[in-house]
Symmetry: C2
Subunit: 194 residues, 2 copies
């Protein structure tokens, strides 16, 4: 291999992810991307094919990042529910503070590609289904461990969690007082146990 690439692919994808997340696919121009990732068009198109190709990797990167955050939060607690609470606070408070990205990028993507770009539509949908599946696994675990009543269904808990999570995220985006969000998350988890 002569003259190997000078850029780090992960770094580039991560930077592109931040920009796409913030501005959305359509509002992000290839010039914006060139500046953000410090690569000339030739390199970008050689490495990723086109704008959609880079977006695809950026979206996958986002999903992986969320998965990693979830798993690391779970490791911090013996209780699955406590792990999920830490994850929620981390995603809705810490992350929105530093990134100021209001919505989950996957939700933004499903909305943006509802009527166009079928590949991106199905990718974002399947990443969301993957996440729901993981949540259902975790709630099944919590039921087994006696953290939640035995008569509850894991998939119902998973659905309820997502609905609350997405709604809260949207609300957190337009509220400056993060202690309010914190107390709403506490309420959310009190309600889950009941």
């Amino acid at each position: 291999m002569a003259n190997p690439a000078k850029f780090n692919r992960d770094t580039v994808v991560s930077l592109a992810c931040d920009l796409f997340w913030k501005k959305g696919f359509h509002a992000t121009s290839t010039r914006d991307l060139q500046d953000a990732i410090d690569l000339r068009p030739g390199s970008i198109y050689a490495a990723f094919g086109n704008k959609q190709g880079l977006y695809t990797e950026a979206l996958r990167h986002y999903a992986n990042k969320m998965d990693d955050l979830l798993e690391s939060c779970l490791e911090q607690h013996d209780s699955v529910i406590e792990g999920l609470k830490t994850f929620t606070k981390s995603a809705l408070i810490d992350e929105t503070e530093q990134q100021s990205c209001d919505q989950c990028m996957l939700i933004k993507a499903t909305s943006e590609f509802k009527h166009e770009y079928p590949e991106l539509k199905s990718l974002s949908e399947s990443l969301l289904v993957e996440f729901e599946t993981r949540l259902a696994q975790l709630f099944a675990q919590a039921i087994d461990a006696g953290e939640l009543p035995k008569n509850g269904k894991a998939i119902d808990y998973a659905r309820h969690f997502q609905i609350h999570f997405i709604g809260l995220r949207s609300y957190a985006a337009r509220v400056t007082d993060k202690s309010l969000i914190d107390s709403l998350i506490e309420k959310m988890f009190d309600a889950v146990k009941a």
Copy 2:
């Protein structure tokens, strides 16, 4: 007034609203709009100034439409809570079926204009605040009427409703089985009363 306008402004704004709602501001080109509302650039720019001007009216139109729906649902019931439930079902099931617009246009707008177009950002935010205020009014009414426990706060109910509403709407967008959404709305209102 010589040669009065041949188009109906409300109709035009309503058609523009549907397109902007579906595709978002950035993904909607002025050519798309010209086709949808059947007007040539000159007429559009004479009537609305620019793309942003038309979008502004479209967003206001959307907020009014939602208000009208809410009020008409409230009129159908003596109970405020039952009125809100009918509104929720109407917005999340009936409307998404015919329009296939996944998200609340106001939420989409706040997300799209978080870092650009400050006028549209503050407009969408203030329309959301207006809606929250109306909800708080209604929950105060429900508390007074004895529909909800006296020790609850109207603003807390309003917040909880919005979070659940937005989360459910997002979930409804990627679920084909509308009876599941119906049962989730029923659960949502059971939880409110408790």
